[in-house]
Amino acid sequence: MTTRRLYLMVVLVAVMLAVLVWFYPSNSDFKGENPSWNGARDFLSDFQALSLNSLDALPATSQGTTLIVVPYIEFTPADLDKLEHYVNSGGKLVVLDDYGFGNAILEHLELEVRFTGSQLLDPLFDYKNKNLPKIINFAPDPATTEVENLVFNHATTLENVPQDQVVAQSSYFSFLDEDQNGEWNEGEPKGPLPVIADFKIGKGELILISDPSILISSMLGMEDNQQFLENVAQGQIFLDQSHLPEVPLDEAKVVLKISRNVLATIGATLVLIVLILAFTLKPIWYKGGQSD
């Protein structure tokens, strides 16, 4: 009887842990399930956006839709082809990147513009400190309607952007901290530096934003960040989640989801029910067997 109780306890603990992992909210950056400061749950709800776990789920007709990509994981050639097809056939592709793999998309689209990958610091026009630079220079563009300033968070900049494609620039006082010492040094590019750019590609549009953090919950309400995103993201909005790194909690959730899907099949459900019945009815069956 003691062993049986122990087995029961093990099962109970395992179930409790599974439930905990299932319901414990994700704390991964930019994840739609993450309700905390660094998640994108507010973005998804405010913008009625759909999160995509694979680019295969993109609609066949991309016109009138916006796909937002935070490229923190390397793209496969197939994914790059899908993005190219999406934008060429009329979709609006918004690439938000700072230190990720956004340049792979730009290379694939044969554009010269690049994310520099060094941190943009602004010691004067910022929110609290120079890591949170304010963007206050905008070109007249539908994306900047009713936008006076944006707040970025550990952002980078763009380079090789034709002047007529620049939508927003950092302030005169900003600089690119290439040697990461937090100070401007001789040779480091000084502001204004391009941070948002807009390109027409095929029938679609490509918008580059050098900071993905503007869509996390704690940054969305900052200054005109939300208004800007409303101007940029139109029609049905998709937020790509398939190029974000998985933390162990997410991996555990994925395992649970797979397990749930397996259990959701007819065969597995039948086996599960039979096992539960066998386990619960065993004592009755045992006593019955002994009396015979």
């Binding site: 400061w37 004067l124 026009f125 933390v247 959701a264 619960t280």
Partner: protein, 649 residues
Amino acid sequence: MKRLTLILFTVMLTASAFWGAVASGITQIPHENPSTAESHFNFAPPLFHYSEIFGQVADKNYLEARALIQELKPDYAHLPEEMIFIMARYNDLTTDLTQRLDILDGKLDECEQLLSQNKLDEASVKLGETRGLVGEAAGLIENISMATDELLELLPPFVSPQEAGAVNEAKARLQKALQRLSDLEAWYRDRLNAIETEAKGKEDLSATELTLNISPAQVWVGEQAALSGTLKAGGIPLPNRNLSISLEGGHFATATTTKNGSYEASFALPYWYTPEIEAQAFYLPQGDDKSSFLASSSTMEKIAVLFYPTSLKIETPEKAYPGLLTEISGKVSSEGNIAGRNINGLLDGEPLFETTTDDNGSFQHQVLLAEETWVGRHKLSIAVAPEDKSRSAGTSSDKALTVLKVTPELKVHAPTVIVMPQRIEVAGEVHSPLPLQGAAVTLEMAGVSTTTNVDEGEFELDLDLPLKLNVVGFEEMKLNLAPSEPWQLPTECKASIFVINSLYLGIVLAALVLAGVLLTLRRPRILRQRGLLSISPEELQAPDIAMESYLPKIKPGAGDIKGVILQAYYMAAAGVQRLARVLFKPQMTLREFLSQVTPTLGRFAELFAKLTSLAEKALYSRHILGKDEASLAQRLAAELRRIWLIISH
């Protein structure tokens, strides 16, 4: 015990692994929580910047200085309120200063230019203005110095020790730049004085008079006009002097005076479709004349210009759709020519179409708006070009054009309740006021989807729903319509459908029924009859020697109270074993056996508990047992035996 340890260790390991998963979601992605970010002011950058601005002002690069001021937007700076206030004041003062110095520079240049042309009267007027500007600039420089003092007094409490070095350097540069501003003020005063001295030197030159007559007073565009006049100095004609004739302020023609100081010229009036053109003649002394005569200009004469005005009436729809043809029409009216007039259409300043009017002056054009035309209010401008050969003026007209897209209306016929496994069938109609063909409809439900095309405004979709764990419940159905035309917007429709999973419901019900049947079959009759035990009399009577084999046989001697109690206990235990169907194993304690049989014994458990207590005392207690306790044990054992006999028979 080993197994227990192993299982517990496994559970702990699993738990720690999962907890690690929960706690280890620490990001390496560089962003910080803005609500907890540390706040830090940087004073050196704006101070360095102001010293740079003042340096540019001191170098008389006013345009650059203003461009630098534009970069300092106090509203967005992360600085204390007091600093932002002074920064705003600094910006106003400096902008004002650069503007005045810019004007001052221009006026001084003008004065020098006028004096070089011997235009003494005009130069005197300008010199008066420049004197005022120099005074204003001096006042502004003083105000900037005061604002700087105020700023430098406010600063120390805010400056961190780390930033002190940079701030001190910036302060030194700022004060140096202010000194240069004072030097600039002095430079302007010196320049003004020099020009005034030069003006005084020209007061002795002879004044000249110049007249201008134009005939006719009214001239058709493109036709000849004649002008004439005289140039004199103190009533004496000045021959062979070159005069400049200007139209609307720009040099247009040159004339030379004759022996009697008169001049004549004729010219074709340019095709300027304006009601009036202003003309003026100028004399600027050249060569030796510069040291003898002052410059002069005639009065401003106006020429009435004749041409045929043109009017335009246009008709445009208030709304237009990207990718669809829009008709724009209109009519040109003029007393000149109206046939074959060129019409240009512009949308937000960008060329949209070109056409010409028919013989009646009407035009009509079908415009295809580009697919990428953004939705919203646009400015549509229609312009009629002027036609010189018919002396007809041009004109233009602006209208607002709202570009929009329509959202198709989606009507869906879907079941409200479905029983799974079942193929869900959804039909619907799509209505749109504009052409809609080949739109794709996607049905999504329970993680699966299917797509079809709208055919003549209708569609039908079938979807095989997957079986899931849910037995019953609402499932959301989503229908997306993706039109292919640029004038249509995508739309979607959602509905909740009550889903009954018949297979799972059947399995669960079957399981419950099976469990019920088994329970019913195995429950002992005695329990069904009396509600006391879960074992049948047949089972009680069944031979089961093994069940008693573990119980010791006690034979007490005379006066062996302990033996009597234990004998009574083991006798009762033998019966209880059968009643409860629980084997008294050798490793079991009396209490463990009691706890396992108690649920089955029901209300007789109390008797056995008392007997167990006496047996425990006999076995383990130092308490000396009496005869009363021995007889109590025997009575309890007899009672239990009696019950067992009743039940078994």
